[in-house]
Symmetry: C2
């Protein structure tokens, strides 16, 4: 299976999902599957969030708070949930504020090990 | 009612809750109610997370992604959910990874306007 198939599966099973992406902490997306245009510059947003995720990962490590596994950011227009795959990559799902949050976290938790396996 | 009463109510109704705090983006806690010691330097962690929240708030504003309303960070040892109250303050709840996440988000959503009212 390709990355794309996993991303499509995540987006397909979460009500309100807008896009799903496998990204590197360097800000470069490996693959993105986008279904709706929420009127936002989503790629730019994901890159910006990615740089914040990176800082956060370092901060958490320094504090020995454990390994960061998941980070979510909600605005009044969009929610994003990111799940770490490796020290270099993460999978991120964007959904509308009315979207199914519980399902989104679950879908990412299930998809993460599969996508990780593809990263080889 | 005081801040403390609201914080106690949040912690009391969420399974796995460890601490709840009203904090400023300057890193100073107005009030904290802590029930369990998860073996972490929780106050230091909350301050560190707060500075990341601040950066994130700016990034989201710059991207016109809307007003950041909620941010969560999960590690393998602790989950934290922060909900913005004003441009200066936020309420944050820490819970164990096994804690009730849905209830935690709900409790913060209900408590936020009450705590905000106390901020005057």
């Amino acid at each position: 299976m390709s990355f794309r198939t996993h991303l499509e599966q995540v987006v397909g099973q979460v009500e309100g999902a807008v896009a799903c992406s496998v990204m590197g902490f360097d800000g470069i997306a490996i693959d993105t599957y986008q279904v709706n245009d929420p009127g936002l510059d989503l790629p730019a947003m994901l890159v910006e969030y990615g740089s914040i995720l990176g800082k956060l990962k370092e901060a958490a490590a320094a504090l020995q708070a454990g390994l960061v596994t998941e980070v979510s950011i909600s605005t009044d227009r969009l929610s994003t949930i990111a799940r770490l795959l490796t020290q270099e990559y993460y999978i991120v799902l964007a959904l509308t504020p009315e979207g199914n949050w519980g399902k989104a976290r679950y879908a990412l938790r299930v998809a993460a090990p599969k996508v990780k396996a593809e990263l080889g």
